[in-house]
Structure formats: C-alpha cells, structure tokens
Symmetry: C3
Subunit: 208 residues, 3 copies
C-alpha cells in the first residue's frame, strides 16, 4: 500500500513532466493552443499507446484512464499560461522526467511479461513504453527524434528493464526490486546529464 501510493505519485508527476516537456516543444514550433494540447498528450501517452497496440491490449489504456487525461490537460494548460515560470523549475522537471522514465519502463515490462512474451521482447516493449512518446512527439513536430541523438536515455531504460527482468526471478521482494530499478534508471539519467555523457555519433562520410 505504501509502495503503491509512492508509485501513484511518480505516475502523476512523471505524466506531468512528459506533458510539460511536450508542451514546451510544441510552443517552440509556434503551434496554436490546440496543437500544444495534442503534442502534450502524444508525449505523455504515446509510448504506452504504442505498447498496447503492439501487444493487442485494446482499447488502449489511456481511453479508460481519466486521471492521466486530467493531469495531462492541466499540465499543458499551465505550461501555456505560465511557461516562463516553469522554465525556472528545469531541475525539478528533469527529476520528474527521469522518475517517469523509470516507472513507465517498469510498467511496460510488467505488461509484456503478463502477455507471456520472450525476454528480449519484454525489454524492447518496456523501452518503447518509456521512450516512444518522445519519438512520436518529434515526428509530429517534424524533427529527427531527439532519442536517436541524445545522451544516454534509452540506454537507461534498457538497463533498468534488464535488471528488473532478472530480479523478478530471484526471491527479492517484488515491490522492492521495482523501486530499486526505477531508481537505477533515475541515477543513470542523472549521471548521464550531470557529466554530459552520450554515445558517439556517426558522421556522414565526406567522400560518400
């Protein structure tokens, strides 16, 4: 119960952080308020929607989740009205985003396991859940997805998902290993941003 309340809080703050990041991206592209709202929604629910569609968990979960819709709507409107103030909360937003990434990854993993998928597919689906809201957001905003050029983001999700996948097979308490893996993803993100770590990129061959 104590754990679940903690997870519900992360869920709400993580959803809000994803929606706020989406709203900022959309406002930078000069969309109108309706466009900003749509991009907030896609950012926050896109990953879970794609996961639900791929495994056949239909109707997709947000259609039945009034809380998430309300949180996203309010986050988006608040960002439109008070964006300037929110920019001063960048650190807080980063923390929520990293916690959200952790939680959504673990939720995706559990749904994949419940559908009886093999291990590599479980980890793929959990990463899709955590990361693909941002990919869909960037596609709608006509940009090459940030995920493909970003400091260790998907890798944090993959690392935490793999850890949880193996911890579930041990006798360690499930809630404890869940929270442990969310924090693992959080810390990988924190270290990646703190030390500006990233994967090397490929450059266009000048002779090609």
């Amino acid at each position: 119960m104590h754990y679940n309340q903690f997870l519900s809080l992360i869920d709400i703050f993580g959803t809000a952080a994803f929606a706020i990041a989406g709203a900022f991206s959309a406002m930078e592209r000069k969309l109108d308020p309706f466009g900003v709202l749509i991009i907030s929604f896609v950012s926050a629910i896109g990953g879970g929607t794609l996961r639900d569609v791929l495994v056949g968990n239909l109707p997709v979960s947000w259609l039945q989740n009034g809380t998430a819709i309300l949180v996203i709507f309010c986050s988006s409107v608040v960002t439109m009205l008070f964006g300037h103030y929110l920019k001063q909360l960048q650190t807080a937003l980063f923390l929520f985003d990293a916690l959200g990434l952790g939680l959504f990854t673990i939720i995706g993993l559990e749904i994949a396991i419940k559908n009886g998928l093999p291990g590599y597919s479980c980890i793929a689906l959990s990463t899709v859940t955590g990361c693909f809201g941002g990919v869909l957001r960037d596609v709608l905003l006509n940009k090459v997805p940030l995920l493909f050029r970003r400091e260790i983001y998907a890798l944090a999700s993959i690392g935490g998902a793999t850890a949880y996948y193996f911890l579930r097979r041990t006798t360690i308490d499930e809630d404890l290993s869940k929270i442990g893996c969310i924090l693992l993803i959080f810390f990988i993100r924190w270290i990646a941003v703190r030390y500006a770590l990233g994967l090397p990129r490929f450059y266009r061959d000048p002779a090609a």
Copy 2:
C-alpha cells in the same frame, strides 16, 4: 431510410473531398502517381484507421469497405488528370470537406460509445476520426501538421461531438440530432473560414 441515404451521400462526397485534398498536397510535393494515390488513401481513411486501432476494432474497417476504396481511387486519379479544373471547384471541395468532417466525427463518436468508453474518450476518438487523416498525411509529406496551426478545425469537430454526446441522452430523435450536429460542425467551419478566425499561436521566445 431517407436520413440514411443522405448520410451515405455525405459519406461518399466527404471521402472524395478528403482524398482530393490529399492528392493536391501530394502533387505539390512532386510525388509520383503511386505516392499521390497513397497520400489520398491516408488522408481519407487515416482518421478512421487510427480510431479502429485504438479501440481494437480490427481488422480496420476500410479493409472491408470496397465502396470507400473505389471512391478514393477514382478521386485520386481524377485529381491527377484534371487537377486544374478541380481547382476551380474550391468552394465545392471546401463544403464537402466540412460535411465530411461533420459526418466522420459523428461516426467516430458512435463507435466509441458502442465500445463503452467514458465521455471524454468518446469525444477524443471522434476528433481523431475526423481530423487525424490530415495529420498522418502531413507527417508522410514531412510537414508540421496543418491541424496544429489551422483556423478552427479540430475545435469544430470537438464542438459538434460534445453537442451530439449530450443530445443522445435527451429524447430528441437520434437521426435528427445526428444531422443537426453534422450541420453544426459544418457551420462552425464555414464561419471560421469566412471570417478567417483562428486560435492565437505561440511564438518562439527570442531570448530562449
């Protein structure tokens, strides 16, 4: 019966209007005839397809709907061959598009209600049905979706869907309220375009 014939006519003309608008966008981007055909299809059936996938109404409906496929195919070919003449029919195409938006919105709403979804999801799905063909078209043509920058378009759909959602709970005749809401969406679109109404946009913060 009389009502249904009227709705079937709107369905055909609306589908054609969506397909023709798609074909024009694709021709502007210098696609080859096959590309124009695909964009016509995506414009006309994209919204309904996304709705069917999200609620799990599979196989998606156009796979079984020979009439729609024929209408889209002919509209696209005619646009490729006689595009110059069609441009002089711009007013007629706008009227068909507005009627189509109305009808597809109401169809989406009925499918959502039949799936037992809560009210806000019904309205979201009906807007997806009416508007997201155009979003998918713009994504495939590598543009920021027009929907997010356009005069009152999605808002007309949301307005009509909300009105129908509440009218269905009254004792007013269902066919009558259906046609009333299609016309409501039509008139909101007409007024928005006639007076060049739109939502204010967000501008990139020059200091950001």
Copy 3:
C-alpha cells in the same frame, strides 16, 4: 521441405538487407548507435508490424520471432562496424533487398487471405508488408518517403501480389507459384533499376 528451406534463406537474407539499408540511412543522418539500431529494426519489421496491427494479428509477429531480432541486431552492428566494406557489396545488397521485397509481399498476401479479406485489401496489405518498413524509416528520419518518388518499387510488389492472388485459384502447385511470384517481383525490380525506369512525377504548378 526443399522449398521451405529456400524461403527461410530468403527470409533471413531479405531481413538482413532491409536492416542494413536502414542502418546506412540512419548513419547518413548522424544518429548515435542506439538510433541506428532502432532504424534498422523499423526498416526490417515495420511493414509486417503495420500489417499485423491493421488485421488485428496481435501481439505483432516480431515479438515472438527471436531469429528475426537476432538477424537484425547483427546486421545493424556489422553495418556500424564495417560499413565501408559493405558499400562494396551494393549489388549483393540490392539483390537481397529485391528478393526480400518479393518474399515479404507474398507472406503479407497469405496472411491477408487467411483473414478472409476481399481481394483488393489482400493486395493492399501485401504491398504494405513489403514496402512500409521503408516508409516508417523515412518518416523517423524526417524525410519524404523514398517510396513515393522511387523507381518502380511498390509497383513490383503490387504486380507480384496480383499474380500470386490469381495463381492461387488455379491448380498450379502453391509452392511453385509462390517462388514464381517472388522471382517476378525480383525481375521487375531488376529491370527497373537496370534501365532506370520510374513513374513520371508531378511538378509544382509555377503559377499556383
């Protein structure tokens, strides 16, 4: 058995060719290694995934297909490490790609027929299976899909699918007509590239 082994080989080489083509596109866009991996996956499994979602064949098939995932992963990593050498294999890669297009088209057609869809939908779905991995790849890389501007590619897929659809109704051996149609698609592609054939494109009306 003999036929099936031949088809399994085409499957593996075709999947690899699609994944390698995806990896090259992603490296040209300077993505990081994780981005390259994702684009390889989307190129190779995107078409089949979209087909599975549209007909409701869920969970989508790659989630259960360990071989495909392994082939794609290795192809992508090898491309990242030894891309320069692979470029000298361009002819081999083109051949694999054309064979893969043939096989994936026929697989898509069989799944559509098994789902009891009408003829035109079967052919549409088989083309989606063969061609839309590349469309999704281009959308993620923020380009107008090459498919819409390319030498006879989708047309080869449509031609082979139509031939197989009608051959299945004759008494000709099923495996034989399958291989015949894969080779038909292969030869249309070969001739189109050999003689640089393409469909005429539409140009933006300068006066518009």
